[in-house]
Symmetry: C2
Subunit: 287 residues, 2 copies
């Protein structure tokens, strides 16, 4: 079974237990719509890769549980971000966003339910590192530095840019890297850097894709940051400058991988992801 | 220190750690607005009372942590329920609701943050029954039977009334009763009934208050159920019929208290709460 298939199966189980006859049918359907078909599973894969790099012989049960929880939290943030009071995005992953397909109220509840299911999954399935993983996930999502705070910066007249970028994007990458280590009993402190740099790379890559790809290629509305007057790397540094910063962030991420059993394979994975993230015609354009 | 003061202190601690300089100021303020000054702390007090009734000599640390988590979840549900896409209520506890005071986007994020903090508080502070309490809280809030599902029934064209009332109101009362037992190491199964009956009583009392009190007395807009075309006990059974059902639910709750060290004192507490919940002029009117 591919890693994506394993992640999907675990996500299906996290939601499936909800799909009994006493659940309101539209909420059931909206939950499924929000999670499937999934995205690239970047955060869950990072978590699993770090776990395997820390200890290639470890049981990855808790790492897969953490990976599932991360993806549920990520999906929750997408559903709420797309709401009319935030990005007002009508598409996500090439489909109508949840509030367009099911209404605003069901989109709010779907996001709420996904957050709760992320914590419930840890409680139901994590064998050993349940408390540690719950702390990692709540750090990454709660104020002061989690994704809820990242979104909240967009409502401030003066934005703390560093806090904004950290909370909005890096927080879940940091959680993925930390959770990978924690889930096999390794120390998580030295893995924060990898999460920070990858989060930063991902943010810049997203800004670049937002600037140069069409809505069809993106599977969601384009130039959202500009439309929503939000800080954006392409706006600040130009296409070439943003591209350079993306490469720097990838190099920093690769360098930050601590010495462990799987250092080399993890670095290769980082470079492979970097190529996937960079829009092809941009590589030609800036070259 | 009164029990309310202890609950407030614990709530303050659950939110206070968030209030550092890296948190967006409006989110900080909105979190405080959503939780303080609190309501009657009915659910936290039920949890603490059940814990003390199960074992008068027990350490109540985990019960207080559970009580705090319950209140944070309750506050989260109020903030999201008041949103324009649900009740569109402009007042709550005699103050502007969160979305009126801070905007819709911050209200969504404040609810999200309160849900996460409820689980984080358990992970940070529960000493012994962390996993059990996390399962109780997630059962009470997630689909298929938690409060998110309760709200979602309002978007269905055909409502399963029993599931709707259970999920929307009783679920958190059941959680409060179960959490009280669980937090002192007692079995929770026999406490479900108390939660169900109290939830039912509370729902009817709320319908009665909604029907006969002014917005000033309620601290929130009146006749919301009628305005929102929702099932309502007064609408279904009339004032007298609803009042009889309230008394029946209270009696059922008192009878359902299992035999334990504090059966009598818990029954007295239930009757005292019943008097507090029933609008005074209604007692005269129906009498």
């Amino acid at each position: 079974m591919t890693i994506d298939a394993q992640i999907n199966l675990s996500l299906e189980q996290a939601i499936a237990s909800k799909i009994d006859d006493t659940c309101p049918p539209k909420l059931k359907s909206a939950l499924h719509h929000a999670v499937f078909p999934g995205g690239a599973h970047v955060r869950p894969k990072l978590c699993l890769a770090v776990a395997a790099a820390c200890d290639p012989d470890a049981d990855l049960n808790d790492a897969m549980v953490a990976a599932t929880s991360l993806e549920l939290l990520h999906c929750a943030s997408l559903v709420h971000d797309d709401l009319p009071c935030f990005d007002d995005a009508d598409q996500r992953r090439g489909k109508p966003s949840v509030h367009v397909a099911y209404g605003e109220n069901l989109a709010v509840l779907t996001g709420d339910a996904l957050i709760i299911l992320a914590f419930q999954t840890l409680a139901r399935k994590a064998l050993t590192y349940f408390r540690e993983l719950t702390l990692v996930m709540s750090d990454a999502t709660a104020p002061p530095n989690g994704i809820a705070a990242g979104q909240a910066w967009e409502s401030e007249s003066e934005i703390d840019l560093k806090a904004y970028h950290h909370s909005k994007t890096a927080a879940l990458f940091v959680a993925a890297a930390r959770a990978g280590a924690v889930s096999v009993g390794a120390s998580d402190a030295e893995w924060r850097g990898l999460g920070e740099h990858l989060g930063s790379a991902y943010q810049i890559a997203d800004d670049l894709r937002d600037a140069v790809l069409s809505p069809d290629e993106l599977g969601k509305p384009a130039i959202q940051d500009v439309r929503n007057c939000r800080p954006n790397a392409v706006d600040s540094y130009g296409l070439g400058g943003a591209y350079t910063r993306l490469r720097d962030a990838i190099e920093a991420a690769a360098s930050s991988v601590p010495t462990c059993a799987g250092t080399d394979s993890l670095r290769q994975l980082i470079y492979a992801q970097a190529i996937r993230l960079t829009p092809e015609h941009l590589v030609h354009e800036v070259a």
